[in-house]
């Protein structure tokens, strides 16, 4: 080291000048920026109330013989600048029917109505349409004055209409009253403690927030890898075979009750639930190592779940209540394409779809479609209320349905293995929902193994059930 290097530097006042100029410029810029931002906020805050225009519809996906559905659209509409929420605007609409997908749609004007204080537009399906043995397709266009664009329900309109299918030969399954307290906890195959360590799974921060963590999971097709989505730590934990510790894969996600689907090549699709202002939630696609392969918005405001299908991932989206493919030919599909390729049933391979409709307090209608026609169908009735249908998926020649059963005080999941025309097997599982997870992220079926995501005060786990029947 040279002498010059050891010598203390001489203070030079001239060096201060540019630094002081920088401080001065920074203060000025910051003041201008904050001032502009504040005035913009103040202006927005004092603007008039915005327009409201939204519509929802519970589609008549499945129906029993003799039922002639009345189509009901709840419509909310208030003009811009009107503070009184009871002062609605004029709305009208048209529903379009056809019995055969090769025919042109027939238009029928929706009639204004109200029920329980809800403004509605309704239509009774024409008798000739309702009586068609192969069902009918329909969509609605709802309009209002002003600048609002018409609402199409479902979003794909004529390209991907709703479909209502009659079930003339549905097998009836009577469940009676559910007996609580005999739930099978299953074989625990994965467990991760709550915490921030490399083997732990995190809880979302927020004292005012209920416990949310390990929001979703999936299992590879060979059943050898369970992937737990640790959204709080923005990572996936891969539990492989009998390895005691998981492999952590970092993911660039925003999380927030995200759902997860893994693909055969180990890639992962994460469906987020919170969108940027004016946008819809994102599906993020990662390779096995966590490298982002693509991002796409969902077509609709409220996606509910994502599943891997034989032709790529599909997302159940609301308010259309349709399964929409988010990838096509190895590339992510833009929102418009998703809506135009939507279907009422979840694709389950070999050209088949499963359609489910829970109606009333204790009834589920379910059908397997092949080539667009009902192949097999069931009507399941329960004296105990049935809640969310978490899973409806074929296992070989059977259909597995997992639905929640609940009372005021308790809840469990009931697992139904429908074998031909009868109930082949039934058992229940605990709900184990200490922490909240993605709404329909609790169950996965791989071959004849059913997997369940649960949580308790210690951590999150995955339990397995063998559905193979003797």
């Amino acid at each position: 080291m040279s002498q010059q290097g050891r010598r203390p530097r001489r203070f030079d006042r001239r060096r201060l000048v540019p630094a002081l100029l920088g401080v001065l410029a920074g203060c000025t810029l910051a003041s201008v920026t904050v001032g502009l931002g504040s005035s913009a906020v103040a202006q927005r805050a004092h603007s008039e109330a915005g327009a409201v225009f939204d519509a929802t519809h519970l589609p008549a996906l499945l129906r029993l013989p003799g039922e002639r559905p009345r189509l009901v659209y709840d419509v909310h509409c208030v003009p811009e600048g009107v503070d009184d929420p009871e002062r609605g605007c004029d709305v009208d609409g048209t529903v379009f029917f056809r019995e055969d997908s090769r025919e042109a749609f027939r238009a029928q004007k929706l009639q204004p109505s109200s029920s329980f204080g809800m403004r509605q537009l309704t239509a009774t399906v024409p008798i000739d349409v309702a009586s068609d043995t192969d069902g009918y397709e329909y969509y609605a266009e709802i309009r209002t004055g002003g600048r609002a664009a018409p609402i199409l329900l479902p979003a794909g309109g004529a390209h991907a209409p709703h479909r209502s299918l009659p079930l003339p030969n549905a097998s009836t399954v009577e469940l009676g009253s559910h007996v609580f307290g005999n739930a099978d906890p299953g074989e625990r195959v994965v467990f991760a403690r709550w915490g921030d360590g490399p083997r732990d799974v995190g809880l979302e921060p927020g004292r005012s927030l209920p416990a949310i963590g390990a929001s979703a999971f999936d299992v590879t097709d060979d059943g050898k890898v369970v992937v737990l989505l640790d959204e709080a730590h923005r990572r996936a934990l891969r539990f492989e075979g009998h390895e005691p510790a998981p492999t952590s894969v970092s993911l660039a996600i925003d999380g927030r009750l995200a759902d997860l689907a893994t693909d055969m090549d180990g890639s992962m699709y994460v469906l987020e639930s919170v969108a940027a202002p004016g946008r819809t939630p994102l599906v993020r696609w990662f390779d096995r190592a966590g490298r982002e392969l693509g991002v796409v918005e969902t077509a609709e405001r409220t996606p509910a779940e994502i599943r891997s299908g034989s032709d790529g991932p599909v997302v159940l989206q609301h308010p259309s209540h349709q399964w929409m493919p988010v990838a096509d030919g190895g590339a992510l599909s833009p929102p418009r394409a998703q809506a135009r390729k939507a279907a009422v049933g979840r694709p389950v391979g070999a050209g088949r779809q499963v359609v489910v409709l829970r109606r009333g307090a204790g009834e589920i209608l379910a059908a397997i479609l092949a080539g667009g026609r009902v192949q097999r169908s069931w009507r399941i009735r329960s004296d105990t209320p049935l809640g969310d249908v978490q899973l409806a998926e074929p296992a070989g020649n059977r259909l597995v349905i997992v639905s929640r059963v609940f009372t005021h005080a308790t809840d469990e999941f009931t697992v139904l293995v429908l074998d031909g025309h009868r109930l082949g097997r039934q058992f229940s599982t605990p709900s184990d929902e200490w922490a909240e997870a993605a709404p329909l992220g609790r169950f996965r079926l791989v071959g004849h193994d059913l997997y369940r995501l649960g949580s308790n005060a210690s951590g999150a786990f995955v339990a397995r059930y063998d559905l193979e029947m003797p």
Binding site: R15, P18, G22, A25, G26, C27, L29, S31, V34, S38, V41, A42, R44, A45, H46, S47, E48, A49, G50, V52, D54, T56, L58, L61, H76, V78, P85, E86, G88, S114, F116, G117, M118, R119, P205, G206, R207, S208, L209, S273, V274, G278, R301, P303, A304, E305, L316, H321, V356, L357, A361, I364, G387, D388, R404, F406, T410, D411, P439, L440
Partner: protein, 207 residues
């Protein structure tokens, strides 16, 4: 050239510090700068449709623990508020404050009448989620979850959300003020079947 680097460094540091400070202050200024204490407007009736409109206007407007004031510009004007502080003065309601305003209730728990609160009226109301769950207050009752309909609520000890629509798979589209990282919006939820949640109804709706 010798003065360029110190100029740039000091500019960046000063600008950064100033903006961080201003941002923190901005987050705590939404209520102070925009909200009011105006009296509510008594109304002779309310419909579920009208309450859905109140709720839809709060969509995208953020979340504030213990809060109850928002505008209608479809964005959270105080994003990324600290999670652990109920007094940061940010935009949005929390779950129970949101429900109180959407159900157009009175601060007087013995009053089951209808009060139209302005969006920018900063009011949370007297009920926590747990109080709603217990059916506290003259306008509120608990009901079977099987019969819940639009704008009825599902409440747990720590959260409450309103039914916006029912889905074919037995889930519901819930409109709710969920949390700072979520804001206020419509999501698919399975609260109805969860034993943590009870059905709650505001009484007095006009048909």
């Amino acid at each position: 050239m010798s003065g360029a680097r110190p100029f740039a460094v000091s500019l960046a540091v000063t600008l950064g510090l100033a903006l961080v400070g201003a941002t923190a202050a901005y987050h705590t200024r939404f209520v102070a700068d925009n909200c009011n204490a105006a009296a509510p407007t008594p109304t002779s009736y309310i419909t579920r449709d009208g309450s859905a409109t109140v709720a839809l206007r709060a969509r995208f407007e953020g979340y504030q623990w213990a809060g109850g004031c928002w505008n209608d510009n479809d964005r959270d004007d105080s994003p990324n508020d600290p999670h652990e502080d109920p007094a940061t003065g940010g935009e949005g309601g929390d779950c129970s404050g949101f429900t109180f305003k959407v159900w157009r209730e009175s601060l007087d728990q013995s009053d089951s009448g209808f009060q139209q609160w302005g969006m920018l009226r900063n009011v949370h109301g007297p009920y926590t989620a747990a109080a709603f769950k217990a059916g506290a207050g003259a306008p509120n009752i608990t009901v079977s979850k099987s019969v819940l309909t639009k704008m009825d609520a599902l409440a747990s000890d720590g959260h409450i959300g309103l039914i916006y629509a029912t889905n074919p798979d037995g889930t519901d589209q819930i409109i709710e003020a969920k949390g700072e990282d979520y804001g206020t919006n419509i999501w698919t939820r399975t609260y109805r079947g969860s034993s943590s949640y009870t059905g709650v109804r505001r009484t007095g709706w006009s048909a």
